[in-house]
């Protein structure tokens, strides 16, 4: 740890804690085994704050605001609540919106039973979706020899974009469009098979929290994602001169 790091003290729930100034609220919470649900965040990838699942109540200078724990650096004297009826309600609502805006048929999904979205819905007690389903018309690109992207299940967390750019260094994935037309694309929105930058490494498949990215040849519930490689790769990269 560089010597210039400054330590900040703050309070998370009922615990007085301290962290270095480069840490996020989420990092410090994890160190103290305080659970905060996340979805777009993945240890080893840059933070984007895309999903808002990790919202916490932050009181600082007499003002309380909702902030994404994964993307908010700690500050001296912060008072943080990680779990309240309001937060639970918002988190559930976010999940419901995610389900309502895609096409999720878990029963036939390769990720059924190993899906982070589905897992959160279970652990956060989402029993139904109160918003009307959009049933968007979205495509499946199975042009790649080994991989498939099913946009019906994509929640636009951008983990694939980040792992591809930050770790693999290929930057095949990116995001296109706005609002309900937003989608992830390979290269300049070409079929995946024609994306020349793709090295075929498969990292995107394994960081994707849902069944949107998967390997061919797997049947329902068979796609187990392995992410152990990430912190290791990240550490290796940071060691480079």
């Amino acid at each position: 740890m560089p010597s210039s790091v400054r330590v900040k003290t703050l309070r998370i729930d009922d615990l007085d804690v301290a962290g270095d100034e480069q840490q996020t609220i989420f990092d410090v919470a994890v160190e103290h085994a305080i659970p905060i649900p996340t979805l777009c965040h993945l240890d080893g990838l840059g933070a984007v704050g895309a999903c808002r699942m990790c919202l916490v109540e932050v009181t600082s200078a007499n003002q309380t605001r909702l902030q994404p724990a994964c993307a908010t650096p700690i500050e001296e004297g912060m008072q943080i609540v990680t779990n309240s009826p309001r937060l639970q309600e918002y988190r559930r609502m976010i999940l419901e919106l995610l389900f309502a805006e895609g096409n999720h048929v878990c029963a036939v999904c390769v990720s059924n039973g190993h899906c982070e979205l589905q897992g959160l819905a279970q652990s956060l007690g989402m029993t139904h979706v109160r918003f009307p389903y959009h049933y968007p018309q979205r495509s499946v690109d199975a042009s790649h020899r080994r991989f498939v992207v099913d946009h019906n299940r994509c929640i636009l967390c951008t983990r694939c974009v980040r792992v591809c750019a930050e770790i693999e260094g290929a930057h095949t994935w990116d995001v296109m469009g706005a609002s309900s037309q937003t989608q992830v694309i390979t290269d300049l929105n070409q079929p995946w098979a024609e994306a020349e930058t793709c090295t075929g490494c498969g990292k995107c498949i394994h960081v994707c929290p849902t069944g949107a990215l998967f390997e061919k040849g797997y049947s329902v519930a068979e796609m187990h994602k392995r992410r152990q490689f990430l912190p290791y790769l990240r550490a290796m990269r940071e060691r480079e001169p």
Binding site: V140, D141, S143, S219, V220
Partner: protein, 474 residues
């Protein structure tokens, strides 16, 4: 408004079996239609999906026989991969398919039909169900529950999840059988055999009370269609299609299941979106055929297992082949249960059954795949085409209940001619129609209401389509 309403979506959602009857100009019932499963839409739903999803998706067609769809869909996918499924995987799939047939037959016989058979068709409808049976014939009701559990537990031991197992996959199965599970399943066999032996002892003599029903009840000439293997014995998983006429002559000994489109036509009835399959060489509607347990027993030379063969011999001594009365589907189900249990035991004792090699992996090597198997209710056909990426471009399914469609309507028509006088349907028709439907055991969600009477809605229409009379039963 004098136009009739053919399909009433509200009553469908509530799970009524809807039947429309049409009078001809002479005032005779000319046509009867039972509106069964709406598969339309489902086939469309598959288009654009990766073919690997098909088995799980297809298992959702029907909550009653998901395993059957899983089997036929996976067989179609095996063809897309163009792989040789490891022999152990084939045997394991066979076990699961038989377990599904046993549990489905047990459900029909004990839970749904036995109340009619043991308590009488005209007995109090509030008692004419499994609960009534538990009071009047507790041993028999319990036998039924146990036998159904036997089938369900085998499915569970193999697939982990009872209702929609994802264990059967393109290329094989996704997990080998463990020694412990095999022992557990083998341990359940003797009790299951004892139940079916008992049932085959008390049921046949009871049929003396149903002479009239056997005579009149869906008793008509038709073709019989089903799978049989090279030994001429019962076959629910592979084999070739046999066709027999109503005099017992073999019309076709071995038709390649994959060429089904050459010999099975699908007529679309006017005023209905139901497809009615028929045997093409005889045309429509003469090519009407029956599938399912009775058809299979008519078609095969013998069952292929000792106890089931003895039961089949006894059956045919009393009812010579070809057996035409649909009422005897009940009897046929019991013989098939016997066969299923014996066959599962044989398969479990196969020296290779614990082999770890249970799945073949490949990229798709063909653009078209057809899977045919025997479901509890009869021959089931799944047919897919895929594009170069492995996405489905076409799906067609012929489901067992669809196969029986023409014959079932024929049985209902027989009943209707009895019970329709002038422009009115007599009350007694409801029970009769219910019993006809039960004999065929179509996979209507309403037909599996174990408690209470089957919800029915019968409409009588004039030649010009006017609704003359309707009967409801909740």
């Amino acid at each position: 408004m004098t136009r009739r309403i053919e399909i009433n979506p509200v009553t469908r959602i509530e799970g009524h079996a809807m039947i429309s009857l049409h009078l001809d100009d002479a005032g005779l019932v000319q046509q009867a239609h039972l509106h069964v499963n709406q598969l339309r839409g489902f086939e469309q739903f598959c288009v654009g999906r990766p073919f690997y999803e098909m088995p799980a998706l297809m298992a959702r067609i029907c909550g009653i026989c998901p395993v059957s769809h899983l089997v036929a869909a996976s067989k179609a996918c095996d063809e897309l991969l163009a792989v040789q499924v490891p022999p152990t995987a084939t045997k394991l799939r066979r076990i699961m398919n038989l377990a599904q047939i046993i549990q489905s037959h047990a459900l029909n016989f004990f839970h749904l039909s036995a109340p009619d058979l043991l308590l009488g068709m005209d007995s109090d409808p509030t008692q004419r169900n499994l609960f009534g049976l538990l009071q009047s014939h507790p041993e028999r009701a319990r036998d039924g529950i146990r036998l159904r559990q036997f089938g369900q537990q085998i499915i569970e031991q193999l697939g982990g999840k009872r209702i929609h197992p994802g264990w059967i996959v393109p290329g094989g199965v996704n997990e080998p059988l463990s020694k412990a599970h095999r022992e557990q399943m083998l341990g359940m066999i003797p009790a299951a055999l004892a139940i079916i032996e008992r049932t085959l002892t008390w049921f046949p003599p009871l049929l003396d009370q149903f002479r009239a029903e056997i005579q009149t009840f869906g008793n008509f000439p038709s073709l019989f269609v089903g799978l049989a293997n090279h030994q001429g014995t019962l076959e629910h998983y592979d084999g070739g299609i046999r066709v027999m006429d109503s005099a017992g002559n073999s019309i076709a000994q071995w038709l390649e299941p994959n060429h089904y489109a050459d010999y099975i036509g699908e007529a679309v009835e006017p005023d209905s979106y139901l497809k009615s399959p028929y045997y093409k060489p005889l045309g429509y509607p003469d090519g009407m055929y029956r599938v399912g347990p009775l058809a299979r027993l008519n078609l095969v030379d013998r069952c292929g297992t000792p106890r089931a063969d003895a039961a089949l011999t006894a059956f045919n001594a009393r009812y010579p082949r070809p057996v035409l009365s649909s009422f005897l589907y009940h009897y046929a189900r019991l013989i098939e249960i016997m066969y299923g249990i014996e066959q599962i035991e044989l398969l479990l004792n196969d020296p290779d059954i614990l082999s770890e090699h249970v799945r073949a992996f490949a990229e798709p090597n063909r653009s078209e795949g057809i899977g045919v198997s025997e479901a509890p209710r009869g021959t089931l056909i799944h047919h897919y085409r895929i594009d170069g990426q492995g996405l489905v471009t076409y799906a067609n399914m012929i489901i067992a209940s669809g196969n029986n469609n023409l014959a079932m309507n024929r049985g209902i028509l027989q009943a209707a001619r009895h019970f329709v006088h002038g422009t009115e349907i007599k009350e007694g028709m409801l029970n009769r129609v219910e019993a006809v439907i039960r004999a065929f055991d179509p996979c209507l969600s309403c037909s599996t209401h174990a408690a209470g009477a089957m919800p029915l809605h019968i409409c009588l229409h004039a030649p010009d389509g006017r609704l003359l009379h309707e009967l409801w039963r909740e």
